[in-house]
């Protein structure tokens, strides 16, 4: 096999924001946002409503012009048709006409791309069996989401924007979409994922960017961001007085729920040793590291405090 140079070096980011600012009249949506998306990687952008997720995507898609800063997609300015031919898009509300049939939507959208995926592949990857002859408006919410996913991947994109992709999907369909996304990523596609489901980000993302009020408050590997919150949750059945446990060094909080107590600690080891020493009858000990949800809350809570 002869090697053919790739359009952009494999090491260069597929898309990049740097110091991007965007204000809508009185509201500052982006206040110096910067992050990049790489090949073969899922980047999950997290943040509360209004944190700047949608505006970041809109800037990368060329739908909104940044007031300041740099934005680049596949080495091109966002919105250039040459860049758009290499990306796939699944927006939260696509406004897809209800009186169009699924097969028509797929045929039309495929025609926009120079090197589209086959219809059979799109149907298989998005799970559109039996839907092709149906009108879009007569599909269930989950089925519509699958159609939108098919339209996003039908152009064989190098970079995929997925905005809340699995909203309205049942567990089974969500798992299948996740599997397809993992396959695409394994084949080298870069994915920018925004989601309200933190477990979705945990299941798919290699890297996480947390936005809060138009700023990046965390950017790193999934484990790194989780490690930003080093806390452990210790749960067990014990008769110990939680008010007293709460005063132990290294304990942030302690609470009781029936026979069960929950202790949030910076490091588990010392606290567990003391729990076991003080209550030999302790059972059902369970220690967990903070999940992404905890990390996310902690990170955005910090900025709340700073702002206050």
């Amino acid at each position: 096999m002869t090697s053919q140079p790739l359009p952009t070096p494999a090491t260069a980011p597929l898309a990049r924001l740097h110091g991007v600012r965007k204000a809508y009249r009185t509201l500052t949506a982006l206040d110096g946002v910067g992050f990049s998306i790489r090949r073969g990687e899922v980047l999950s952008v997290l943040g509360a409503n209004g944190a700047g997720k949608s505006t970041s995507i809109a800037v990368l898609l060329g739908l909104v012009a940044a007031d300041a800063g740099e934005a680049e997609v596949l080495g091109l300015a966002p919105g250039e048709i040459a860049a758009r031919r290499r990306i796939g898009v699944m927006l939260q509300s696509a406004g897809i006409p209800e009186n169009a049939k699924v097969a028509e939507l797929l045929d039309l959208t495929r025609s926009y791309y120079p090197n589209p995926r086959s219809v059979a592949d799109c149907v298989a990857m998005a799970g559109l069996d039996g839907l092709m002859d149906r009108r879009y408006g007569r599909l269930s919410g989950g089925q519509q989401r699958r159609v939108q996913f098919a339209l996003a991947i039908c152009g064989n994109p190098e970079l995929l924007f997925l905005d809340e992709p699995t909203t309205g999907l049942d567990i089974d369909a969500r798992q299948r979409m996740w599997a397809t996304i993992r396959e695409l990523v394994a084949a080298g596609t870069g994915v920018l994922l925004t989601t309200h489901y933190l477990e979705e980000a945990e299941a798919l993302a290699d890297r996480v960017v947390v936005l809060d009020r138009g700023r990046v408050v965390a950017d790193g590997g999934m484990d790194e961001v989780r490690a930003r919150v080093s806390q452990r949750r210790i749960r067990c059945l014990s008769a110990l007085d939680v008010a007293r446990v709460g005063t132990w060094p290294g304990v942030r909080a302690a609470s009781r729920d029936g026979a069960r107590i929950e202790v949030v600690a910076d490091a588990a080891e010392d606290v567990v040793r003391r729990l076991l020493a003080e209550d030999p009858a302790l059972t059902e000990l369970d220690i967990r590291r903070a999940g992404l949800a905890d990390a996310f809350l902690e990170l955005t809570r910090d900025t709340d405090r700073e702002a206050a």
Partner: protein, 256 residues
């Protein structure tokens, strides 16, 4: 040769022309699935023609001729104003325009498809009127006049497409039908599409040149020699000017 070719090394093999054709074809098919558009725009001119041009005008051939031309114009107005005004307003509100801007749709394919569809629809309306006129209305014209009248009615949708587009960029999907109707029906009456201007009060007739539908109707009537004697170049000039003006206004609204 390498079997794995980077997608963007093939731009020459990609034919955006196919996208334009598909965009128009599917727009047309979607339109035919929309009874709230098809029934009033297609049937109203035909029903009015049968009622006023045939049933209420027994033995007066001029009315059947006059109304063939003016209801053809009325049909074109409806196809352009509703086809653009209502659908653009709805699709803009629902986010389709934003979505299309993120997709690599070739430039202008969305509007070109709607324009082609409106022209086809205006032609279908005229074809229906022509059949009614030739059978029930006793209208008989030389082939060249039939053809020219069909052409005038088909191309005459363009200024109404531009006005509709502008309305579509201004109002929401819920309000658009009302706004279009408020323009559509009065303009049709005041331009002499339902009754010849000489039967209307003189101030209405005097004001008629303000309306684009008047100029379109005068061109259509000129084909069959029933026009008011205005200059063809003036009528065409006004319609071209209105098309350019409203297209430019809409473009500014869409870009903003």
């Amino acid at each position: 040769m390498n079997a794995m070719i980077a997608p963007d090394s093939l731009p020459a093999a990609h034919a955006p022309l196919r996208s334009y054709a598909l965009e128009a074809w599917y727009e047309w098919r979607r339109l035919l699935r929309t009874p709230s558009y098809v029934i009033p725009t297609l049937l109203f001119p035909a029903l009015f023609y049968v009622l006023f041009g045939v049933l209420l005008n027994k033995g007066k051939g001029d009315a059947a001729h006059y109304l063939l031309a003016t209801y053809g114009v009325f049909g074109a107005m409806g196809a352009g104003l509703f086809g653009f005004g209502v659908t653009v307003a709805m699709e803009r509100e629902q986010g389709l325009l934003t979505y299309k801007r993120a997709l690599p749709m070739p430039p202008g394919a969305y509007l070109a498809a709607k324009m082609v569809t409106a022209v086809l629809f205006a032609s279908a309306i005229f074809a229906l009127l022509a059949v009614l006129a030739a059978t029930l209305g006793g209208v008989s014209l030389p082939a060249a006049q039939w053809a020219l009248l069909a052409l005038v009615c088909a191309l005459g949708v363009l200024p109404f497409c531009a006005i509709g587009l502008f309305i579509g960029t201004l109002v929401g999907g819920q309000g658009a039908p009302a706004v279009v109707n408020m323009l559509f029906l009065p303009m049709a009456f005041l331009s002499g599409l339902w009754l010849p201007l000489k039967l209307l009060p003189s101030w209405i007739a005097g004001m008629a040149p303000v309306w684009p539908a008047y100029h379109h109707a005068q061109i259509a009537l000129k084909v069959i020699g029933l026009d008011g004697g205005g200059l063809l170049a003036v009528h065409i000039g006004v319609l071209v000017g209105i098309t350019v003006l409203f297209a430019a206004l809409a473009r500014r609204r869409l870009a903003g």
